[in-house]
């Protein structure tokens, strides 16, 4: 009913010049508002639930806002469950993946951008094709491989696997960023007496910082979010990550909503921060390949 009345108001004939502009904008704002509510709604609902005391939670809800908001779910989550271990494992794995991915991708991206050598195209497209191999094809042989290497239920095992899966996109991303650094700057540094290695550290490394940030954020988000490998390759709190820990609050017979929602807030925070931090570079990297190609 309210929606209808706004619509009619919007389409009513404008008087004068200024209102005409407004009339054009209004339905757009309505759509944007609806979209934002659709996106933010579930997160907000999760947060509200996490601060609702359990006795209010079990009663069929009549009010949306909890009457006695409390952070006791967070307290219990960290004290009674292994979630703190999960958080630590996830952080450790994510940092490892980011460092390893950025170093490898920066080296590979620079090689593919700056050198012309036989097999270059094959490597470029090989890296692209590798990314098309389905996870499900690899999960069984990877399980056996990690078992043989003694890397099952091991954070290092997860780091290696995640780095491999983040590598393709990161390498293409880095290549794109290095492509944009003018060769002239590098040549100037060589003329000024830099060696090739020095010019890499003094020219390419600092100038590709946005690319490093984008590739690092991508690697971080990927490893923080990954679920399937972590579920299959880890067995206890020594290596289980946040997504696996979260999924375990859904039991056969009951679901711990208080733990799920408070743990969910913990899982969302780094993504929110990392994403706001490097959103621009990531979007640029994400879209550059497709738009150019």
């Amino acid at each position: 009913m309210t929606a209808v009345s706004t619509e009619t108001r919007v389409s009513s004939p404008p008087v004068g010049r200024a209102p005409r502009r407004r009339v054009r904008i209004r339905p757009l704002y309505f759509l944007i508002a609806a979209w934002i509510v659709g996106v933010i709604g579930p997160y907000f609902w999760m947060f509200l639930t996490s601060i609702t005391p359990s006795n209010e939670l079990s009663v069929s809800k009549t009010t949306v806002i909890p009457e006695h908001p409390t952070f006791s779910a967070y307290d219990e989550l960290l004290r009674q469950t292994g979630f703190l271990h999960n958080l630590a494992n996830s952080a450790f794995v994510a940092v490892g993946v980011v460092v390893l991915t950025v170093v490898c991708a920066l080296l590979a991206g620079t090689a593919l951008s700056r050198y012309r050598f036989r097999g270059r195209r094959a490597v470029l497209y090989g890296i692209l094709l590798v990314q098309l191999i389905p996870t499900i094809l690899l999960i069984v042989p990877l399980y056996i491989e990690l078992k043989k290497l003694g890397l099952l239920n091991n954070k290092l095992g997860l780091i290696l696997v995640y780095t491999a899966f983040a590598m393709s996109f990161s390498t293409w991303l880095m290549k794109g960023f290095v492509d944009q650094i003018p060769v002239e700057i590098e040549e100037a540094s060589l003329i000024d007496g830099c060696s090739k290695v020095q010019s890499f550290f003094h020219v390419i490394l600092p100038l590709s910082r946005p690319g490093i940030a984008a590739a690092g954020t991508y690697a971080f988000i990927y490893s923080w979010n990954e679920f399937l490998f972590a579920l299959t390759f880890t067995f206890n709190d020594k290596a289980k990550t946040v997504p696996v820990g979260l999924s375990q609050f859904v039991g056969e017979n009951m679901i711990r909503w208080d733990f799920l929602t408070s743990g969910g807030v913990f899982a969302a925070i780094p993504i929110l921060i990392g994403f706001m931090f490097a959103q621009r570079g990531l979007v640029a990297g994400l879209t550059s390949g497709a738009v150019k190609g």
Partner: protein, 309 residues
């Protein structure tokens, strides 16, 4: 005399070494990346093909036996294989189609001028960056038959009289899962298409407007052809990704009820780790990969033809 010769040889040697070093440098820089890709993607991929030809049990991996195409023969006889194939097709094409249409509208909205545009462009991408488990659990809570807000709202609005168990009824399980995946995937389409829209030259739109073309005609005749390459690539990336994605289904329904939401990759996973039959699991993985490769090749050919025409 001999001194001159040796120095000449030395110079040649030094040059050769320099040449070799020059040629070796890019490969040296590529080594770490290639080693990791080779060790943890290419080698296991080759190994998967071998595994699919063996009888291997999760609980006793070393007792492996070569059985040829036996696994594939048995897969084709399983009714759940055909069920999961059908569900996979619905899941993949349905999700991508919806995401494309809504994402396109979303991109057009984001391309309009409004206050706080940069911030909102980042904000709408949030679901895409959220862990799939978290997305699954947020919606599990919203859709809960007893305590969930979705059923409360439907009841309050008078649309339903009794709560719907969205995820545990055979008719609603797969569509509900698809709805959640579409929610998460729309931003990706919107942002990719938005990037293409920003590349459409303003004077072309101006020219169309001066020639008296309506907004609608301008969109179909000017904008759409220009953004088509990006749309086609995004659709392909998304088809591959969606076909392989089953985290959401694994967490929310585990393929149930009665295989109503069982897709092909999930079937492979459950065969390997619940049925402990790694050989058949690998074989289902090979089937999935081959079907996807065929899909990609057909798609690429079609796209090339339509672009030539």
């Amino acid at each position: 005399m001999s001194q001159v010769v040796t120095s000449k040889v030395n110079v040649r040697r030094a040059r050769r070494a320099a040449e070799l070093r020059k040629r070796g440098v890019p490969w040296l820089m590529l080594t770490p990346a290639i080693a990791i890709l080779g060790g943890f993607i290419i080698y296991p991929a080759a190994n998967a093909i071998y595994l699919s030809l063996t009888s291997t049990n999760l609980l006793n991996i070393s007792a492996q036996k070569f059985v040829g195409l036996e696994n594939f023969r048995r897969i084709l006889q399983r009714p759940d294989f055909w069920e999961s194939l059908r569900n996979s097709a619905i899941w993949t094409f349905g999700n991508v189609a919806f995401q494309l249409v809504v994402g396109m509208i979303g991109a057009l909205i984001l391309n309009a001028k409004f206050r706080g545009r940069g911030f909102i462009r980042g904000l709408v991408l949030l679901p895409w960056a959220t862990p799939s488990v978290l997305v699954a659990l947020m919606w599990l809570w919203i859709l809960d038959p007893n305590l969930g807000v979705a059923n409360h709202m439907l009841h309050a609005l008078g649309i339903t009289h009794s709560p719907i168990a969205f995820l545990s009824e055979p008719n609603t399980a797969l569509p509900t899962l698809m709805g959640i995946d579409i929610w998460q995937g729309i931003p990706f389409f919107a942002v990719m298409i938005l990037a293409a829209l920003q590349g459409v030259p303003g004077d072309l739109l101006e020219a169309a407007r001066i020639d008296g073309a309506s907004v609608w005609v301008t969109y179909w005749r000017v904008v759409l052809p220009l953004i088509m390459p990006t749309v086609l690539i995004t659709v392909m990336l998304r088809l591959i990704w969606t076909a392989n994605y089953f985290d959401l289904i694994l967490v929310l329904t585990n393929g149930g009820p009665a295989n109503a939401s069982l897709t092909l990759p999930l079937n492979a996973y459950l065969t390997a780790y619940k049925g402990t039959d790694l050989g058949s699991g690998a074989a289902l993985g090979v089937v999935q990969s081959v079907l996807l490769a065929v899909l990609v090749i057909i798609y690429m050919r079609r796209v090339r033809k339509s672009e030539l025409a």
